[in-house]
Symmetry: C2
Subunit: 350 residues, 2 copies
């Protein structure tokens, strides 16, 4: 498959090369704030149908690129496809978010999980393949997966609520079973990302959205080490794509993630970007940090917030990627995204 | 009114005096995990009825004390009574949690808020008065209020969901209006705590439950300074009770809260207690840190987790108060609380 131009701005930032401006993309840029997405979602009948149809998922992936001058597309998919491939049976209740019909709630259920290989992720790979040919060569295509700890929390709990108390209980009461779950999930995540790499992704990203639910003494074991193993498995398989790790609300592990092989760190909006930069040094790209609520504000407020985020990214040698610190909200006016794109190009130009 | 014995263990811990064991209480100890609470709640008809009846609220306050050897009672109330007194009209939708029928969503609504004095909090004061006579003299009675930033987030949003995006928007777009809201709320919080002090509370606690939703550059302005002002207003009013501040998931402000006059810091379960102790030194009491999920585990796992938390509290000169790092979950078996009480007494004995 054709990859994007190696000089695409996002790839250069990920290599910490000199940037004439910050590359820009937005988490959940293909999403509900776009009327054309809502229309497509309605046609698909369900979120899962949309995810599972490479043609429709490709359309969703490309929608924000048709409106905005973004430097990357992120494949339209869901972090829980790995849980589904492991056998937890992903579903979506209308208006309620995702659930897993067969949670991996105990040792026996964990032992009976499937062992998905690269083939199990043919759907998202097909979406990537479909998108690749449609994208301009200076637009990078990002493949992604949920990170093992976040997926394990969902798989034990079966849904997203209650601060995953059941998962935290299992971690305490059956540490071996939880470790086994993390280990199986780690291999599945690597398979999912390998499939996307083989299909033509230019960049890979690991979303550790619930990293903060690992108490501090668990962060190394359940967050840092599994991410390190995913990266090692990818490198062993000969995949040398840049990898972004987003340990949301646990950015204190950023330095360890870099040591684990991450090429870039996603930074949530609640973290202090300057502190994260100090922790990782100048040989690592940082991405993110704008509060998505800024996109709900008026034009001048939004522009000021963007200017502040650009300034916080600094002008050092480390790569800088503009993004929000969390997914774009569904209440966002699409016009605000247009303001954002212009402002990032204006403020980050060197 | 009669206060508890000045040598009560909790008060001694709050003065950083030598403790023969750690005093113990549990956030939300009067709550849904107790069958007798669920019965009372049903009799009351609604959560608000229960809060608003000093007699029933006193019964709820005392229920955990009748079962367990706890060192403190915390008055049965809700952090949102201050929002209600400001005019936002607190309600509870069955199974959905609290909402404010008249949110303070813009400058005009903020300007039209009420200015509640001490009298506006006669209800919770009456509950405190009713409880005081029923408690053993070695049991401290804790009065509390939501802290200004957390309350402001609720008041703008009108409910608890969506990570308070509307509040974050207002903070950005109308900084003066948001500052005005914080300022009005700060005075109301001080009035609420003053009323509870006058009614016989032995200790006051400020719950800044959503501190982490203030981006780092807002923490000083919207979290630390308002707490400092609440404390200053109380001290100016001659109230010298010890004050515990709980900046949940933003424990990095602990040192500043101590400088602001807090006598103790509540520490969430996601924070590293040893780091917080290093930040505040040995002249400040710390409270909390056990993951409430430990109470969902088997006896031995629970005891191990408690031993680890006791060890993390250390044996230095700073006061140590055993508590969870968040409220006790409604799924908790009441027997687990009994195990916890025994284990804390056993492990923390000097």
């Amino acid at each position: 498959m054709a990859a994007c131009n190696p000089d695409a701005l996002l790839l250069r930032a990920l290599r910490n090369e000199k940037q004439e401006r910050m590359p820009l993309w937005v988490m959940r840029q293909a999403g509900r704030y776009l009327p054309e997405y809502r229309k497509l979602r309605k046609q698909a009948g369900s979120f899962l149908n949309l995810c599972n149809s490479p043609e429709m998922a490709c359309t969703a992936t490309l929608q924000p690129l048709r409106r905005y001058r973004l430097d990357a597309a992120i494949v339209f998919s869901d972090i829980l496809i790995v849980a589904d491939a492991l056998g937890c049976e992903l579903g979506f209740a209308e208006g309620e978010g995702p659930f897993l019909a067969r949670p991996a709630a105990d040792e026996k259920m964990i032992a009976s999980l499937a062992e998905p290989g690269v083939d199990a992720f043919a759907g998202v790979a097909a979406t990537i393949g479909a998108c690749r040919g449609e994208l301009a060569e200076d637009v990078a295509l990002i493949g992604f997966a949920g990170a093992p700890f976040t997926l394990a929390c969902y798989m034990v709990q079966g849904s997203g609520g209650r601060e995953f108390a059941l998962a935290r209980r299992l971690m305490l009461t059956e540490p071996q079973a939880f470790a086994e779950l993390i280990d199986r999930t780690t291999r599945a995540v690597a398979a999912c990302l390998s499939a996307q790499a083989a299909a033509g992704a230019d960049v890979l990203m690991l979303f550790e959205s619930w990293a903060a639910l690992a108490a501090p003494h668990y962060l190394d074991e359940h967050v840092v080490k599994p991410a390190a193993k995913v990266i090692a498995l990818l490198r062993e398989a000969g995949i040398d794509l840049p990898i972004i790790v987003f340990p949301r609300n646990a950015e204190q592990v950023a330095g360890k993630m870099v040591a684990a092989g991450a090429n870039a760190i996603g930074v949530g909006w609640q973290a202090d970007l300057v502190e994260v930069r100090a922790a990782v040094g100048e040989q690592t790209a940082l991405q993110g940090n704008l509060d998505p609520a800024a996109l709900l504000a008026d034009r001048e407020t939004l522009r000021s917030a963007i200017a502040r985020t650009v300034a916080a990214h600094g002008t050092g040698a480390g790569g800088r990627i503009f993004n929000l610190g969390h997914g774009i909200g569904k209440e966002t006016d699409p016009e605000s995204m247009a303001i954002l794109v212009d402002a990032v190009r204006e403020f980050s130009a060197c």
